[in-house]
């Protein structure tokens, strides 16, 4: 793709400082005071008129969080975060619960425009009714616009902000919230449980194939505001949904914390396809600023023959700490993980997946492509585990790393644990630079060094790009090229 070519020639030329999406929009927001204590947790809960059980759930998580330690095993290095110096709630000022696009703050729409939300999606936001993508736009912390509700409702699909679902579908939220990522899961997930602001809630009823791809755009906006998204997707028996998540963030000097939690649940024969394009501000050339992305994403294939597929294109953030995982509980369930992680400048990426095989005849597949450039470090960390009961568990893992330049690092740390004789696990990993032979071959056919490199990088990540829905694939290619700009000289 052209992206690769651009990638190559731009990697070095890309002035990391010139972050294209680095702007701050002036939207007034309503903030909770800085810092975190039980009162803040109650404040957030009260702001959303949450029922008592949820307030208690948050407080319990908060109390647990106080007893936990920040994990330090990841290969990332950053100054200690002062959790008392952050804002834990900020809501954009806008008419409460806009019913249609006209009620949405025009400033918001301008932000989307700057973010380069695909034209079709902008049309949707502007009220043009051709689009088949529903956008539940999360602006800072509160969902402000949800489209296509009617059509989704016709299919019986529930797609709304989780804060709304708490009121409209409390039985579902209560049943599934925290059932995949418990409040005690890890430091950041626990923090999220205590202070989560908002996020998407999706429920696909039995036998329904969601009529469109669901999409959410995240945006971190308010200075010093930690973003604590909480996403919960439930695919009931025999249903299917494809969910897209994409993000960009304005430029900042202060490091920003993002600790999201995503929970996916598939019942018998259901399938969820979850795609992410992440392009948060990575910091300047010296690594100053940039987002800390500490995310807990986990899917639970609860039903037999269910399937969860994660696809991610990670190009942004100063620090990424993210392991979208699958718990393959149902017999014959399947987990997939496709990842492109690109690091440039001083970015630090520690990402990978976990495939936990519990049920019989479960299968999983991991394809991870890491590209390091500049002075960045890119680590794949993954676990594949077959429990004793997981007869005939099958895994194939392929993680390849590509190094551009001699000041970056690429690391692979897989944990492969088989406790069942019939498990078949295969793992392969390679690390290399772009092959001289391949370059020579391409250049001999008339391509410039840059074009040749682009072509090769393109081919390198192709396996994963192919997994993305069309709309995203285009955006992802663009991102890859932008994030590698200036890395090839």
């Amino acid at each position: 793709m052209a992206a690769v070519q651009e990638t190559v020639d731009r990697v070095k030329s890309v002035d990391v400082d010139a972050y294209k999406y680095g702007f701050v929009s002036d939207i007034e927001s309503e903030k909770a005071p800085k810092g975190l204590n039980e009162d803040i947790v109650r404040f957030i809960s009260a702001k959303k008129n949450e029922p008592a059980w949820l307030t208690e759930w948050r407080l319990e998580a908060y109390r647990l969080w106080l007893t936990m330690r920040e994990p330090d095993w990841a290969r990332v290095d950053y100054p200690k975060i002062n959790y008392q110096d952050l804002y834990y709630y900020s809501a954009p000022k806008s008419t409460p619960g806009p019913k249609n696009i006209d009620e949405v703050d025009p400033e918001l729409l301008r932000v989307y425009e700057k973010l380069g939300i695909p034209l079709r999606e902008q049309e949707i936001l502007a009220g043009v009714q051709e689009r088949r993508v529903a956008v539940d736009a999360v602006f800072d912390s509160v969902s402000v616009a949800t489209t296509f509700k009617a059509e989704l409702a016709k299919a019986g699909v529930i797609f709304c902000p989780i804060s709304e679902a708490v009121h409209t579908h409390p039985e579902l939220v209560k049943k599934y919230l925290g059932s995949v990522v418990p409040t005690s899961d890890n430091y950041y997930a626990t923090l999220n449980s205590a202070v989560f602001s908002d996020g998407s809630f999706v429920y696909i009823p039995p036998g329904v194939r969601c009529p469109m791809e669901l999409s959410t755009y995240f945006r971190i906006n308010e200075q010093n505001t930690g973003q604590f998204e909480r996403t919960l997707i439930i695919a009931d028996k025999g249903s299917y949904v494809s969910y897209l998540e994409g993000c960009t963030a304005p430029k900042r000097d202060e490091n920003q914390l993002h600790a999201a939690v995503v929970e996916l649940i598939t019942l018998d024969d259901a399938e969820i396809k979850y795609s992410t394009v992440q392009n948060w501000y990575p910091g300047d050339a010296d690594g100053k600023g940039g987002i800390y992305n500490f995310v807990t994403k986990r899917g639970d294939c609860r039903g037999a023959r269910s399937k969860i597929s994660w696809t991610q294109v990670e190009t942004g953030s100063a620090i990424t700490w993210k392991y979208p995982s699958c718990i393959l509980r149902g017999d014959e369930s399947r987990g997939e993980f496709y990842s492109i992680a690109i690091s440039n400048g001083r970015q630090q990426v520690d990402s990978g997946t976990k495939m936990i095989h519990l049920g019989k005849n479960t299968t999983s597949r991991i394809i991870s492509k890491g590209i390091s450039a500049g002075r960045s470090n890119n680590t794949y960390r993954g676990q594949v585990l077959a429990q004793k009961r997981a007869t005939n568990a099958r895994n194939f893992t392929n993680c390849d790393s590509l190094l551009i330049g001699e000041t970056c690092g690429a690391h692979t740390i897989p944990y492969i644990e088989a406790k069942n004789a019939s498990a078949v696990f295969e793992h392969e990993a390679t690390t290399s630079k772009i092959s001289e032979d391949q370059l020579f071959y391409c250049m001999q056919r008339g391509l410039s060094a840059e074009e040749a490199t682009a072509l090769i990088v393109n081919g390198f990540v192709r396996d994963v790009l192919q997994q993305l829905p069309m709309e995203f694939a285009v955006e992802a290619q663009k991102l890859i090229s932008i994030s590698l700009e200036g890395s090839v000289g």
Binding site: T67, M68, R69, W73, K388, S401, L403, I404, G405, E406, T407, C408, G409, A410, H411, T412, I413, P414, Y415, I416, E417, A418, K419, N420, A421, S422, A423, V424, F425, E426, H427, E428, A429, T430, T431, S432, K433
Partner: protein
């Protein structure tokens, strides 16, 4: 969480502290060696016995496994029975003339050992430590290797036996040197052996480490071999650790440093027995060197065998190969952790690592953790790891030709392990290793 609260010393750790205080005066070595021991013991004390919290020990909890710490083995009394025992327990490898060096409970016994050929000097560890020559102490401590490893620190603190083998520059040692380690079968004890093989520039040598244990009690062994391969030298190394009683613990470290254009080929055959940790650190200090680490582990019952490698490419243009096979039966646990580190500037590194395992039982567990840590761009590094069971089709094929199932399986397993033993240069040694694997397989059939 409670992670930062240092738990109280375990019983074994307390015993080790007491044992160090008791034995410290009688352990060999001049003053600088004493300082080395003290520093190592302090390092051990602050770290404690390794637990799963230590990433390099992710799958082996030595602290849990060592309920007790046994006293350091005393020097054996030389008597005629040892010689008979040697002949009986360690018969000559067929078709292979070797120069034998015999160690009993880690102590070098010159009376039982062969005279070494020209160009090869052998010194007992105690003798070398008594001299305390600075260059020797440095070589023995292999600076920069296995740092922070509490088990290795324990070895340094307690090293009581071992042998120093020096091969003069340019010497081609025709006969392999065979180090035979016996146990005296005295009351339960711990052996801390530290040996050093220094191979001079352009020299060539083969070292075979064979261990035999007939002890009826639990043993605790901590064995370390430092191999220093000078420029253009070539070293072949084979290690067959003893099969200890269950509930024994064994940490066997190998620290190899390779000079420019050097070549090092090491093979380890693990046949189970309690908890065994084989840890190998290999470092490329000079360019254009080649290092190969291979091994096979055949495990059953509650055997726990951990193979952990750290390969450091410091110099450019070097090649490393790691190739390990594991067969697991019963309730055994196999671990393979391999880490290849390519330092900044170690361009043109060529590294390939493989670990393959076959699980024969649903109660067996195999853990693989092959790691790459790469800081140079012009390198080719890869690893592969597989876990599977015997191929049913292959078993069926063999059975369809009239072989009983156990025979068919043994044949396939032998072929599986052979791919690793094939990496041993010397044919008689290969045959010997295959015979040991055959014994293990025949016991399987009998069971």
């Amino acid at each position: 969480m409670l992670g930062d609260v240092k738990a109280a010393h375990s019983a074994a750790e307390e015993k080790l502290v007491a044992e160090f205080a008791r034995a410290r005066g009688s352990l060999p070595g001049a003053a600088p060696v004493g300082a080395l021991r003290d520093a190592a013991f302090e390092a051990f004390k602050s770290a404690g016995l390794p637990t799963r919290r230590v990433e390099a020990w992710h799958y082996t909890d030595l602290r849990m496994a060592m309920r007790d710490a046994l006293p350091v083995a005393p020097a054996p009394k030389a008597d005629a029975s040892l010689k008979q025992k040697l002949e009986k327990l360690a018969p000559r490898i067929a078709d292979l003339e070797t120069t034998r060096l015999v160690l009993v409970d880690g102590y070098f016994v010159a009376e039982l050992s062969d005279v070494t050929p020209k160009g090869v000097t052998v010194t007992a560890l105690s003798e070398a430590l008594a001299k305390g020559d600075a260059a020797f102490v440095e070589a023995l401590s292999a600076p920069g290797m296995g740092q922070g490893d509490a088990a290795l620190a324990l070895n340094t603190a307690f090293m009581q036996g071992g042998v120093i083998i020096d091969v003069a520059a340019g010497t081609h040692v025709a006969q392999p040197i065979e180090m035979i380690a016996l146990s005296s079968e005295m009351s339960a004890h711990a052996v801390y052996a530290r040996s050093l093989l220094r191979v001079g520039k352009g020299a060539q040598v083969t070292l075979i480490e064979r261990e035999v244990s007939t002890a009826s009690q639990i043993e605790q062994r901590n064995h370390a071999l430092v191999v220093s391969v000078a420029d253009e030298a070539q070293v072949e190394h084979v290690f067959v650790p003893a099969i200890l009683k269950s509930a024994s613990t064994y940490v066997a470290s190998l620290l190899a440093i390779l000079g420019a254009k050097a070549s090092f080929n090491s093979f380890t055959l693990v046949q189970g027995g309690g908890l065994l940790r084989r840890q190998i650190h290999m470092r490329f200090d000079g360019e254009h060197a080649k290092g190969q680490l291979a091994g096979a582990s055949v495990l059953r019952n509650k055997d726990h065998a951990d193979t952990t490698l750290v390969v450091q490419h410091v110099a450019a243009h070097c090649q490393s190969r790691e190739y390990f096979k594991t067969v697991l039966d019963g309730e055994s646990t196999g671990i393979y952790q391999g880490k290849v580190i390519v330092a900044p500037g170690a361009q043109k590194t060529d590294g390939a690592m493989k670990s393959h395992a076959i699980l024969l039982s649903d109660d067996a567990t195999m853990n693989n953790k092959p790691e790459l840590e790469i800081f140079a761009d012009d390198v080719v590094c890869g690893h592969g790891a597989t876990v599977a069971q015997l191929d049913e089709d292959q078993v069926f094929y063999a059975m369809a030709r009239g072989l009983p199932k156990p025979v068919a399986e043994s044949m396939l397993l032998e072929a599986f392990v052979d791919e690793a033993t094939d990496r041993v240069e010397s044919e008689p040694v290969r045959v010997y290793l295959t015979s040991l694997i055959g014994q293990w397989l025949s016991q399987r059939g009998a069971a």
